[in-house]
Amino acid sequence: MIGRLKRNINTIRFQTALLFVPGFAIYACIILLSIVLAFYYSLFDWDGVRNSMNFVGFANYVRALRQPAFLNSLKVTFFFAVIGTALVNVISISLSAQLNRPGNLTNFYRSAFFFPQLISMVAIGFIFKSLFSYIGIVNAILERWGLPLVDFLGDPALAKWTVLFVSVWQITGFGTVIYLAGLQAIPQELYDAAKIDGANPWQRFTSITFPWLAPSLTSVTVFIFTGYMRMFDFIFVLTGGGPVNSTESIAILVIRIGFNQFKISYASAVSMYFLVLVGAISMAMTYFLRRREEVLIN
């Protein structure tokens, strides 16, 4: 018995499992347990402070669907996710194509474009807030040039575009690096052959570059889209979800109803919708983009 135990202990499989335990324990405690607890609390009417709570079943889920604030936050979140992902992809592909060319300043530009990725989102939020405030630096410049002032963060129609601009500015560096790595993996011979066949730059891009970038596109799209779905920091610092809830994403709404309004159970129900939504969309995106990769590469 002891001998068999010793033999098992000495196997690589056992030791690998043992090493896996601490990481999984942390993951289970922080992520899985939180999800289970959020679902559990969503079935009650707990405020996060009282010691008692009543079971309400799925009432909080029904309540969310009837709340204009929840439906508005879905709309806002998809606005950021869809437009932001598209913009980041387009700009990143374009930038990476430029940065893939040899040049004296190429390395500098590569670092410069990636630099925003290294700064904390909260710090970026504060920097851009001082730039885009009505009495901020940008308006001071506009005023000096005799141009009308713009209420970047206080106008509901403009505020969401301002938040989107700031987020795209920060995230594009990540997309650019991934696409640049993808571009550098494309064999030069393919371009040489295409040139000999008379393919113009656009044809070379659509027939070689874009198909070969398919795995990068999958990674960037899924990563950026889910990131936008979870976006909190920029919005919280720049607009706090306003004005008139025009930038209130699901993440902002959850924090607001959970922590400002002490509706922890209701916020948990909204979080569960959010979890299912992000999970389903990211799985569907991964599935379709992977299939697309296979089609394009074959």
Partner: protein
């Protein structure tokens, strides 16, 4: 067992020990340990609190006070979140500072102060600090908020005199028009929390004045936000916006910029709580600041204030092992001539004790004090406890409504105010 496994076992043991190790504090026999959650701001520093605790410990050798800091960066919610998290973790400070929400009292987490305590009787207007006839805070100071400050130089340049200080909405609008005609911006107002604050300040001045037990009346169905008398406040604010009396782009102006804007002469009037007086004292400027009470529709004014639920008020945790000792410390801190005075001076507060704790006031602070004493009506604020507790997070819906008014993006004011009723119905 080979060396590799032994190493793994040691690392795992360290990990498990690190995760589950507890930090049990050692207590000497007869010693009383108190944990004091303090509210640190640029004016109320950690060093200030530490000095107070050290002095108290020297005076009371059997008491040990540990300071636990909550940061003011996130606003009042920071302290609330802090205590909520500590409650969830089961490691709750004995003394709480600036944890305003009534929900903690309803949940039974706040210690009830003995009503017959002689020091409690020093509190003026004690009944305003009562919640269902019980006391949970030592309201040794109050934070008047019904004040509109103004730049006396610009006021005079616009052709206005002290006789023009408004008491009614009509007079206030006339003053705004005069200031605007003189080429100045009449009102310095901002975004972030200052937007909902402005909204609720005007509600206090008009609605709470007429309904001093607002939330009790609300629960009984006697008053609603969609009532014409409440919507009238929205119509008044709407006129201020439509006539261009508020500074442009206000929603993207943060609190710090707001204050600097007023100090820099960007606008003539600045609706703000009396904590502004501390900034005014520190400011390097060549003009004097005046102050008046919020106007109302009929001219009867209400100098509303934070009574017992705001302004760095302290509470004691009901689960504390030494609530009486905590209470003794809280009383000492507020009534000590040095620390009590420094505390209220640093945050622009006013003593609510009889006899009062005094500090060296600036002319503006004295003016506020005189005005506060002279104004007959002073109620708590609608976001706090007015006959009953306000629903948690009501400032969220106030923010949304005032933003709709400022950006002129509402369909009808009645519909906007009905949203507040819907929020309250969903919260009660």
């Amino acid at each position: 067992m080979n060396k590799r496994f032994a190493l793994i076992a040691v690392l795992l043991s360290l990990f498990v020990a690190g995760v589950f190790a507890g930090g049990a504090s050692e207590e000497e026999p007869g010693q009383i340990n108190l944990k004091w959650q303090v509210w640190v701001t640029p004016n109320l520093t950690r060093e200030f609190y530490a000095s107070a605790a050290e002095t108290y410990m020297q005076l009371n050798p059997g008491v040990q006070i540990e300071i636990i800091e909550a940061n003011a960066a996130g606003g009042g919610e920071g302290a609330v979140d802090f205590i909520r998290n500590r409650l969830a973790a089961g490691d709750v400070p004995d003394i709480w500072t600036n944890v305003m929400d009534a929900i903690f009292i309803e949940a039974g987490h706040v210690w009830e102060i003995p009503a017959d305590d002689p020091d409690l009787q020093r509190v003026k207007n004690l009944e305003l600090a009562a919640i269902d006839g019980k006391y949970y805070s030592f309201v040794a100071h109050i934070q008047p908020q019904g004040s509109i400050f103004y730049n006396k130089s610009m006021w005079a340049e616009a052709g206005l005199t002290e006789a023009d200080i408004p008491t009614t909405w009509a007079e206030f609008e006339a003053v705004c028009e005069t200031i605007k005609a003189a080429g100045f911006v009449p009102i310095m107002a901002g975004g972030e929390w200052t937007a909902w604050a402005l909204f609720q300040w005007f509600l206090n001045a008009e609605v709470v004045k007429n309904h001093p037990n607002f939330w009790t009346e609300y629960e009984a169905g006697d008053v609603r936000f969609s009532d014409p008398e409440v919507v009238a406040v929205g119509e008044f604010l709407d006129r201020l916006v439509k006539n261009g009396y508020l500074i442009e782009g206000q929603l993207s102006i943060g609190y710090a910029q707001l204050e600097q804007g007023f100090l820099g002469g960007s606008a003539v009037m600045y609706p703000m709580g009396t904590w502004y007086t501390a900034a005014d004292k520190a400011a390097d400027k060549d003009w004097e600041t005046g102050v008046f009470v919020y106007p109302s529709r009929d001219g009867v004014q209400n100098f509303f204030a934070g009574y017992g639920v705001g302004g760095n008020t302290m509470r004691i945790y009901s689960g504390s092992e030494n609530p009486e000792a905590a209470w003794e410390f809280v009383k000492w801190f507020h009534m000590d001539p040095e620390y009590g005075a420094d505390f209220i001076e640093a945050d622009g507060l006013y003593s609510n004790l009889d006899p009062p704790i005094l500090y060296d006031m600036t002319p503006l602070q004295r003016e506020v004090n005189d005005l506060f004493q002279a104004t007959e009506i002073s109620t708590p604020q609608i976001i706090e406890y007015v006959g009953g507790p306000a629903p948690s997070g009501i400032t969220d819906v106030f923010q949304s409504v005032i933003e709709a008014i400022i950006t002129q993006t509402y369909d009808s004011l009645e519909a906007e105010f009905a949203k507040i009723d819907a929020f309250v119905a969903d919260s009660m």
